[in-house]
Symmetry: C2
Subunit: 261 residues, 2 copies
């Protein structure tokens, strides 16, 4: 299979960076092809602006979604963005690897999302009408591809537990798993999270390496997060609200968008 790893850590010698080496070597040893978008080493431009759209008249007001759509169809996106599009379309599986900073991804990775997720490519895809609100949440350009977050965290697991002060890790990562991966069509695997990496020793690194290899060996067979698909009857259109009675009794919040067995 073909794997793309989008990697966003400034330090290759970090715990996180060392896990990247483990992933690449292990995947290659199993006969897979691997490409890495190492955003820091690429000095990836992190901020979307008028320079992203080669056909945009800079005297005109910039409307980001509109300019993005126009540049995408006219093949007037910048070369660095087009290269990432090609890697995404090449890949069967994508891993987003980053340290959790301030309860989300590092800015350089957010900028990759903002810039690479062009209108017509990752959003604004498909028919938008009274009966259909585009191809998203389970459909879209990345349909059929699997994706997984690989996240290192400084805090403790209990801080991210069901009652933990930071909020449950599944909820903290929902804006990424559901909003950035499921939205453009990825099948989303449960994230791999390593906690307390700031204090990690060699034994912990070895343990995390083994967990990662096991996650990679089962990438094709791991049961994905059962996010509800938008256009298959669970939601009203165009309000996009979950129809009454589909959730579990008492279930609220993000959880209602995940189907239970």
């Amino acid at each position: 299979m073909k794997y793309l790893i989008v990697f966003a850590h400034p330090e290759p010698k970090s715990f996180n960076g060392s896990l990247l080496d483990v992933a690449v070597k292990h995947l290659e040893s199993q006969g897979h092809e691997v490409k890495v978008s190492d955003l820091y080493r690429m000095n990836f431009k992190p901020t979307i602006d008028a320079d992203d759209f080669l056909n945009h008249d800079k005297n005109e007001r910039l409307q980001v979604a509109g300019a993005s759509a126009e540049a995408f169809v006219a093949n007037q996106l910048t070369a660095d963005v087009v290269a990432e599009h090609e890697k995404l379309m090449w890949a069967d599986n994508v891993i987003f690897q980053f340290p959790l900073w301030w309860f989300s991804m590092p800015a350089i990775l957010k900028g990759w999302i903002d810039r690479v997720y062009s209108c017509g490519f990752a959003y604004g895809v498909g028919e938008h009408s009274e009966t259909r609100w585009g191809d998203r949440y389970g459909e879209g350009s990345f349909e059929g591809k699997r994706a997984m977050l690989l996240v290192t965290v400084g805090g403790w697991p209990t801080h991210y537990s069901a009652r933990g002060i930071n909020g449950p890790i599944d909820d903290i990562l929902f804006h990424i798993n559901h909003g950035n991966l499921c939205y453009p069509g990825f099948t989303v695997l449960p994230q791999m999270v390593v906690y307390r990496t700031d204090k990690a020793d060699d034994a912990k690194f070895k343990e995390s390496s083994e967990e990662l290899k096991q996650r990679l060996d089962t990438f094709q067979t791991t049961k994905p997060i059962a996010y509800r698909r938008q256009n298959f009857g669970d939601y009203t259109i165009p309000q996009m609200e979950l129809k009454e009675g589909l959730e579990q009794p008492g279930e609220t919040g993000f959880a209602i968008h995940v189907k239970k067995d």
Copy 2:
């Protein structure tokens, strides 16, 4: 009062950018002092890296939190970051104004958080021991200051409702309101969100302007989000889990960290 507006939109003529003008003019007309950090116009460096820490030896492994703490105490942070610290400490009230992109803030604002929220300043503050886990979540450097998100959104309100497919807006913004504002000590006001700004007409802009002025006029008196404070008995230490029975019956997820009347 002294207001800082941290503004992250690439287009001053946008709906969002036009609201910035409304805010600044209205606040000044009421006798307040206003500073704006217009991140795009400042060409604010959005990516934290070894260059952020002037006393960091680039041959050494970069451990971001450690390097940040060392640079903060040694006054070896970059001038642009120090300038933002000074604005934050100057301000009584802070508004974070941005378009919601991919269910979070634009990369340039995330980079402002990553870089300006130095260790020893916004995290890693106060005593860390068996009985106390630092000054955070209701305490910290920004204690006594109020903060509010001002967010423009392309989608519809129903898409962000309790049953909306994107998830409830309060939950989507929790990683920012709770994780980025409450964490370093801000008193957090309910966000102002304007939906469907891509399709907005003059009447809608006028309506939003009036809402914004009203929000600014009541900034000091608006009831904040009642996030639980970390060090006042609601959480176990060091596990940082909410003690049993404090939540409402059946309440789960982020909601348990907000006290109800």
